[in-house]
């Protein structure tokens, strides 16, 4: 366990050739929600690996239980990077994923979420699901940090299991918060634009 983390992080970075750019934002161990576009299974792993070690130790990617609990390797990887697994099939009113996330992070952990909910083809960022809005509403103290992941869909696209080691780039942008009384749709559009804006920088 002690060795797997650096090895896994190193492999992920080597394979994806990821460059990390922090734009108007600094690595910090304060509680954050990193939200990114989602095009590949490697997204969570590489974004997590590219955070500085002390931040990484406090950051938990949110991932789908049905995917990450299938098979030994995936289960092990999910355990190593301390993933917060969400059951997509059993979402109930009283046991919503948001409550689970908020309970799990307590007042120490940060999260990595993919608000599109599923992997897109990579050309256009899909509509954001409302989870990010509820996170921001229930925990206004969390910094919501947009992240744009570029080229990862070419490293390991949907439906492929062998990666091609191209160069990718992760851009981490300035934090944002839910404004007082901001409508849900407005906020979600604003969050999506924040991610899209990083593509141009």
């Amino acid at each position: 366990m002690g060795l797997t983390v650096p090895v896994l992080a190193f492999l992920a970075k080597l394979l994806s050739g990821a460059t990390v750019r922090w734009i108007d934002c600094q690595p910090d161990t304060c509680q954050r929600v990193y939200f990114a576009n989602h095009t590949s299974h490697l997204d969570a792993l590489v974004l997590w690996a590219s955070l500085p070690r002390e931040v990484r130790a406090l950051t938990r990617p949110v991932a789908a239980r049905d995917y990450w609990e299938r098979g030994m390797v995936r289960r092990h990887i999910a355990k190593v990077f301390n993933a917060l697994l969400i059951d997509r099939t059993k979402i109930k009113v009283h046991q919503s994923p948001m409550d689970l996330m908020i309970r799990e992070i307590g007042d120490t952990y940060s999260l990595i979420v993919f608000p599109e909910g599923h992997r897109s083809t990579g050309d256009e960022i899909g509509e954001f699901k409302s989870g990010l809005y509820y996170l921001g509403k229930k925990r206004p103290d969390l910094e919501l940090v947009p992240v744009y992941i570029d080229n990862m869909n070419r490293v390991l696209p949907r439906g492929e299991f062998l990666p091609v080691p191209l160069l990718s780039c992760i851009t981490i942008g300035p934090p944002m918060w839910l404004e007082r009384g901001e409508p849900k749709t407005d906020f979600l559009i604003r969050a999506r634009d924040a991610v899209r804006r990083l593509k141009e920088l």
Binding site: T19, N151, P157, E160, P165, L167, S168, C169
Partner: protein, 360 residues
């Protein structure tokens, strides 16, 4: 060929190994290497001093380019020297990594489609290593006739691996993926990337396996020097070609060759550059199996090919709308920017040397 790496145990092994006449480094090579390292050290100091100057007194962009170049040369020297210390096969492995990285940059810049994914996987993990494995297998063999024949067979195989079998494999594998959009264009892009970054560059370390003779004409006397010197000479001449063309271009540049491709390449720079390179190359004949006039011809050809390489890569970059491979993904060094001229000069230099100065 002095390929066998002697693991001498008594007195300082490195010194033994340097002094050993049959060792990998002979006197001319050490002399050349020392001169180059000295010049690089001076260049580094000059670069650092210039960097400290106030912005107004020196051209900051030129200083930055200069410092980046010097850093790349240190890197090249480190790779070459380290390669030589660990043996011929080690050098081949290091070149393989350089190729791999260059191909990575090339394909990242080239738009490919989802249907090319599995083709690219084989290009990266089968063709690239296989090319270098074949080149590397020719290294640690003896001088006997049997071995020479084997080496020739390997040469024939790695010469056609990518141009023939790669060319057959890539379009076929793309066709299997079922995506026919811009089919020929996609196949060609991947093929060109593989040819430039892997195939062409692999001819540089392949020089180490040649069994060199003095000259073609009088009875083919075996050459007493070593191939490391020749490889170092080759890389040095290519880099000098780049530098002299840049300097001459800045000093006398008037007529731009192709403004839409590369605005800094001028006829004056090109002609002045190859002239200076040829002169300096002539003076370096003593590291090589060439006579001084042969060395002049070789330097001339290397300089011209290096020029062709940087023009071609500029054209590809303009087509893709990127300034440098280094800026493609921010923070990367841009290996392809540094090796474009080496890639183009390597096969030509290799073949000329093989045909005119090799026993096999």
């Amino acid at each position: 060929m002095g390929a066998a790496f002697t693991t001498a145990s008594s007195p300082p092994p490195l010194l033994m190994f340097l002094a050993d006449g049959s060792g990998r480094l002979n006197l001319p090579t050490i002399a050349l290497l020392s001169v180059v390292l000295l010049v690089l050290a001076i260049a580094y100091i000059v670069g650092q001093v210039l960097r400290q100057q106030p912005e107004t007194s020196v051209n900051a962009a030129v200083v930055r380019t200069f410092n980046r170049r010097v850093r790349a040369w240190w890197m090249m020297c480190a790779i070459l020297v380290f390669g030589f210390l660990i043996g011929n096969v080690g050098t081949v492995v290091l070149f393989a990594f350089v190729s791999f990285w260059a191909l990575r940059e090339f394909i990242t810049m080239t738009p490919t489609r989802r249907g090319d994914h599995r083709t690219l996987f084989w290009v990266f993990f089968l063709f690239t290593p296989l090319q270098y494995v074949l080149v590397g297998m020719g290294m640690e063999m003896g001088t006997e006739l049997e071995m020479a024949r084997k080496r020739q067979e390997l040469y024939e195989l790695y010469t056609i691996l990518i141009p023939v079998y790669g060319m057959l494999f890539i379009p076929a594998r793309i066709a299997l993926s079922g995506d026919h959009k811009r089919f020929l264009e996609r196949s060609a892009k991947i093929q060109v990337g593989l040819l430039i970054c892997v195939y062409a560059l692999s001819h540089a370390p392949a020089l180490l396996a040649l069994e060199l003779t003095r000259s073609a004409t009088p009875g083919r006397q075996p050459w007493q020097g070593n191939n490391f010197g020749l490889l170092f000479y080759f890389i040095l001449i290519v880099q000098l070609g780049d530098v002299f063309q840049y300097i001459c271009g800045r000093l006398f540049g008037r007529h731009v060759i192709a403004p839409t491709i590369n605005a800094s390449k001028t006829w004056e720079g090109f002609l002045g550059g190859i002239l200076c390179t040829t002169l300096l190359g002539t003076l370096l004949w003593w590291v090589t199996p060439f006579q001084y006039w042969e060395s002049a011809c070789m330097s001339l050809i290397i300089a011209i090919m290096g020029f062709a390489g940087s023009m071609t890569m500029s054209a590809i970059k303009r087509d893709r709308g990127v300034a440098d491979y280094g800026t493609l993904v921010q923070g990367h060094v841009g290996v392809l920017d540094r090796i474009d001229s080496i890639c183009f000069a390597a096969p030509v230099f290799f073949h000329l040397t093989k045909y005119f100065f090799s026993a096999a």
